[in-house]
Symmetry: C4
Subunit: 339 residues, 4 copies
């Protein structure tokens, strides 16, 4: 089967991955109410297309925290991409760069943030985990990200502990021989229970823009703003932390209303279609991030697979924008959708 | 199996069509959320029948843009009907004429508009595609339609590009040897990205009534009116262009409210039952159009199949009108339905 | 399998009936949206039970148009009961009488109304079809019903024509050799298209109470009252006439509100459980009628089967009333349900 | 299969139980609309997690009617636990005590209340059935519970008769040889139809706190308060009494609003997940009780199984509280949920 949609990549990836890796990647917390909701909520939103806008092509370019990208589709941070293909995050970086979009490199990457930066030609952000009793490590990661030219730090705030996925209980996986997480070395990966005070400390560490990843309520979004966040990634961690939290596209509108443009909003979780991207933008996101589909692309065809995943989604978005009569990013607003 | 409903025709048609043609005809955009909604939305609407109206038969006759037709069920334009039966659109024209209703002949017909007109004894409309850099062709088609006695031009406004159907990706079909699209000759069929200014130009080309096919919002309906449209076909192109747009029967009420009788409204998309026709009329449509069911009829039994499809739907509508206590078209109003 | 619920009787009856008879009995109009809704709507209504009412048994007795019955569950008129068991309607009459409840004898019975009356010891109503150009027959049936001691005439008002059931198309059935419809003889059974004027005529024919069977809207309920009806049977003809009309339990509340106690309301359609009966009473019905389950009972075990069906439903209702803390019919009111 | 969730225990328990016992335990009243609703209603409620609360562990301790327990998860009373494992209720008591939580011992236990008390080191409540014409027995049970150190009496108020479960009709079970219900001896177990006056009598019998188990409406909750109840267990008897009553988590909010903190509220019915516990607490419950899962635990692995069930649910709750940013019982309030 030639893959023509992101769902095709998912189907092709499953048999190519070790079972434990597949279960780790694909699963969601608990019995996956939110995992299903992340998709269903997109499909329930109706698009209201406008006709006769005179455009046969769409311009997908936009800016994310000031950096120009070719499209409002970014690469989400996911751990251990080396399990999906040998070059791991470097393959992803070359794929994202090939299509001119931004990758968020993960703390728990199997390639160092410097190796990734050496490959990338498009902008990069660095996703930061702060580990328990490892403030010095966090500060060092921020410094290294600054030095390597990363454009922003996206700190994950929804993981004081790791969520529990019914699907992968009893199916632990190991990294492959020779594979590690060079950003953090061999230390124990227990996350820290961060507080808002820790955000102030992080904010004080760097002049890079700071994003908070994992916000689901307007209350926390306003706190993020008050604590100096430049951006918020509305995320439920791919539905992997706490089951029955809202789908991210359900959580976005109230957050967008509360923030009212005072910082940039991003969204990940369940984005698989060009129409999903358009809906997220209509409801207030500046761009979306995709995680698992990149892994499927890597597993199916290495960097070319990841690039093709991004191209498929880009092409779907471009066609959708034309057919909806919204041929520019700026023309996508709330009038496009009916909840 | 003897076909007794339009669904029976669908089941019988599938094995009689080449797989690629079946997939092309039956599929919808994306993963077909709207294709399913086009049907489900009809079934969710409740009919509120009135009793003891003293009528044992119903009078289905109505007028569409001034022309009398035997029933408020018209034949929608669909491309390449020659793939369904050798006589293609001429078979359809004779079927529609046999039951006294109007056919909308498609630009991309496998028979010329003149051949179709030569067969038809009932009124005809001409569905117009404007192609990229082919204004002269469009003007010529309008002239030929005028000359051949067509009663109106229905210009498709929802296709600046062709939608993408998961189902038929990788299953391209070819026209059969010797089959072409004589209205447009052998040119490349890239649609034009029309604008409202192009509507003014089309309006100026002809004194025939002008319909805009593919409107889904009240905003565009009002613009159509302002640009001189005599009618609007509320359509999502058989759910084939942009997935997750509303079902047409969901989109109709707001459009009917905005238009308030100032031009005629039509609807296509998912009409398979007499009760569906009645619901569309109750919500503001003057008539409905059916597309795929005609193809199923042609595939199963040529012109007789297409005629039988129209007769089945007519008979269902007639019985439904009697059982609902609305024995005339004029007696069908909003009090018949509960959304 | 020993049958313990009405659903058990349905499962047991299917293989015991000739296929065409099964399809005729079990089917609903169109693709059976309303047939399913008749059941689903009951299940969606929530019961709000009150505790500590001090009752271990319930008193089910009630009065229907003044006649005392053992429970608010009556036998609906259904045609051709001779297809389900040899004694047909006489078996049903003895079953209903055995449990002390009322049977509505059908015009299209395979036993004459006099034969039924000879068997019955509980009250009877007569369901009247008026046939086309057969006013004298209708008048004669009313006279015979009066003479035979029937307590009311229930005229069917929702059948100017017979509905069409996808399921039984092409599966016509014949009455068995020697079986007929003695009430009406061998004439052609085309129903008349009655009007409200015909109701006045019927009203003038007899001093028996008059019920209109087949009302689904408050407007028609008010007209029925204005034309002298003593009772209304909220019915969609077992979902057999016009598909997608409301479930009867959905239609009841608005009718009860409009009538406000000025005549008696009854309901049939989908009643299979004691809790369904309680819900119908809570929403304004004085009693319910069951149709198909009686046929299943007859098919499985003749008069004993029909009696057992009535007993099962009675026992379920009795238990439900105790568990809901509503141990008398009078204690069942709108506070029992949440729609 | 190693059990990792309460659902795993259910799957493992089914083949280990005699079929009639399995059907008796697992079934619900009627066709189990409420049984399904008890689960589905939990899954439909959305959790709104707050981030950056600085807690990596949660404190689950709480007080129930003044007694400290290790977590807001109690053991519901269920009959005949000896069918699930030889030590029956004594196994349960040791399991509950091992995790430091409260068990509600059932009148219809296969071990006497004194035997249970001898095993338990954590607090106990006694669930009281009052049987027909057995006031003296009830009074004696209350005295014995007082003497044995039980902390409260929870009288079941929703069972003037036993409900009827389609699933177990025709699958009666017997207690095993030598097994009895020592609390009540060999008498006939017909429940009494209690009234509010009987509550006054019970109230007068003892100075122990009195809970009413089986309340589903705010009206009855207010009456319970007026009659001196110290607590209310919002319960539909595991969906075993009257089908189509609300899920308990649906019934809870209106009761909590009516009671407004004037007595303690508890909930059972469908609790299988840590997130369910958190939702019940957010909507007004002080603790939840689990019934069937304890039986599954006993059936799979005796007291260790029951203890593991409690530990699994405790661990899920603890993780959920951390991930939701509510690390103490006091921090769980209505802002945590969206209905």
């Amino acid at each position: 089967m030639e893959p023509h949609t992101l769902f095709d990549y998912e189907a092709l990836a499953e048999p190519r991955l070790d079972r434990p890796a597949w279960l780790f990647y694909s699963g969601g917390a608990g019995h996956e109410v939110t995992l299903r909701a992340n998709r269903d909520a997109f499909d329930r939103i109706r698009l209201l297309p406008r006709m006769l806008q005179g455009a046969k092509a769409a311009d997908l370019r936009t800016r994310v925290l000031g950096a120009e990208v070719s499209m409002p589709i970014l690469v989400a941070p996911t751990a251990f991409q080396g399990l999906a293909c040998p070059d791991g995050e470097c393959a992803t970086a070359s794929a994202a760069s090939a299509v001119g979009t931004l990758m968020v490199a993960a703390t728990e990457a199997t390639r160092s943030l410097e190796e990734i930066a050496a490959v990338a030609t498009a902008p990069l952000w660095f996703q930061l985990y702060v580990y328990d009793n490892q403030r010095a490590l966090a500060e060092s990661l921020v410094r290294r990200a600054e030095d390597a030219g990363y454009r922003a730090i996206a700190v994950t705030v929804d993981a004081p502990r790791w969520g529990r996925k019914d699907r992968s209980i009893g199916h632990d996986f190991d990294l492959l021989p020779g594979m590690g997480t060079p950003n953090v070395g061999d230390i124990d990966l227990e996350p820290a229970a961060l507080s808002w005070r820790d955000m102030d400390w992080l904010r004080s560490l760097t002049s890079l823009p700071l994003l908070l990843k994992g916000i689901l309520t307007p209350q926390d979004a306003l706190l993020a703003l008050a604590h100096g966040a430049d951006g918020i990634i509305v995320s439920n961690h791919g539905a992997r932390q706490l089951d029955t939290v809202p789908a991210t596209i359900e959580a976005l509108p109230a957050i967008a209303e509360a923030i009212a443009g005072r910082c940039e909003l991003y969204l990940d979780g369940g984005v698989r279609r060009g129409i999903d991207v358009m809906k997220a933008l209509a409801l207030g996101a500046r761009a979306v991030l995709i995680g698992r589909p990149i892994l499927w692309g890597l597993a199916v065809n290495g960097p070319d697979g990841a690039r093709h995943v991004l191209e498929l989604l880009r092409d779907e978005l471009e066609l959708a924008m034309v057919l909806a009569g919204r041929p520019t990013i700026a023309s996508i607003d709330a009038s496009l959708v009916r909840l």
